[in-house]
Symmetry: C2
Subunit: 219 residues, 2 copies
DNA sequence: GCCGATCTGGACCGCACGGTCCAGTACGAT
DNA sequence: ATCGTACTGGACCGTGCGGTCCAGATCGGC
């Protein structure tokens, strides 16, 4: 009753049905949580018979895993950073801003936040999720961390930055970026305006540069 | 079956029973989540009849709210900061370390982390929780933020720090502190050793000072 | 035009679990 | 001795829901 079960005409044929089920399941799981999610509701919203769901996914848990896996691999695919970023020391602040904005605009997306909360709530009860989410090597944050680490190492080697441990410096920047949003999206989805995202990025980049700038480049 | 339902001899008399129920309920809710938690199991583990639970709390949801409220007010009460901290500019790094250690040792406590995950998972489905957890004014992190903000403002007024926006600087320090642990405790409880906590605090304090130290005090 | 695979819709099963009821017990207060 | 209160334990009910079954429709391929 919390979620409307509006029947949607699903396109015929195998892939169409499957996609419709995934879409509906994602919606229901995210808004209701795993236990509260109801397969009849999902079937109705997908415009599909319940049996069809069982044909495709076997049972509720495997449907859930499929939903989470797809969402994660989708987020993964969408996270690519411009290789020309963080190369020119003169554009350091500018590039940090670009990276920050790109990262936060997806990380704070309501859909993504809701899914993150769902996963947080359910990992402990689904061993299969552990593999895909546990010791983070995938996901957008780790990707950003990797990219930053590599770039910071480069800039440090050139003497443009003072960062004896690039990975640590990268983590510091990411932590400055994510804190506010993490706090806000932790419980319920509180919208963050693009303006606020900008402020956060500006502050983070500013602080990062103040802390890691090479003395040689100081004004 | 995930959680052993070992009957425990509950102390006789009203307050004892109530406390036993709260203890058992906290345990079961935290490990199983709200939906999966079973009142029969809670009753058994509390060494109490199911009817007694209903006498005291009315229904499952109100029991849950009581558990969360108690945990939160308990955490609130346990969060007090030494008023002499962050006063002497010479001891700035030292004091930041002390604050960081105190904060992280409770914030990363497995119990506290588990409860945080539970709340994250359930706020959306229990309006009553929103009031007590939503727009954060209570809780240990906001308390630390408040304390830091006040102190940083003081130090900045004296010229010991350069921080035009003390609240922002405080948030920066807290974000540096919490990032790693937040990341680790987000899914499942991964133990963080005191040594690692120390490393995190040292790094955070170091970075904070590099970024906010007054030029006048630079070596 | 037939076959096989897919899908439908709805009846159906079994069970777990929140919640109720109640007869009986223990105990403190008067 | 009596009464009221809190507690027990276990039977009991209703229902929501995961999962199954099946008879019939639809459709693409040969």
């Amino acid at each position: 009753m919390t979620t409307a079960a509006t029947p949607v005409e699903a396109p015929r044929g195998l892939p169409g049905k499957r996609a419709a089920i995934m879409r509906a399941a994602t919606h229901i799981f995210v808004t209701a949580g795993y236990e509260r999610a109801n397969l009849d509701t999902i079937a109705t919203e997908a415009g599909v018979s319940k049996q069809t769901i069982y044909n495709h996914f076997g049972d509720k848990e495997r449907l859930f895993i499929a939903v989470v896996d797809e969402a994660r691999s989708g987020a993964d695919r969408a996270t690519e950073f411009d290789e020309s970023l963080l190369d020119d020391p003169a554009a350091l602040e500018q590039d940090l801003l670009v990276l920050g904005r790109q990262f936060l605009s997806t990380a704070l997306d309501p859909q993504v936040s809701a899914l993150r909360r769902l996963i947080i709530a359910e990992v402990a009860h689904h061993p299969a999720l552990h593999r895909s989410c546990g010791d983070g090597e995938a996901g957008s944050a780790p990707k950003l961390l990797g990219f930053l680490t590599q770039r910071i190492a480069l800039l440090a080697a050139r003497g443009d930055l003072v960062a004896e441990r690039p990975a640590r410096a990268a983590a510091h920047f990411v932590s400055l970026l994510t804190y506010e949003g993490q706090q806000r999206s932790k419980y319920g989805t509180v919208a963050i305006s693009p303006g606020e995202i900008d402020d956060i990025c500006i502050d983070a980049a500013d602080l990062f540069i103040r802390a890691y700038r090479s003395p040689a480049t100081r004004s």
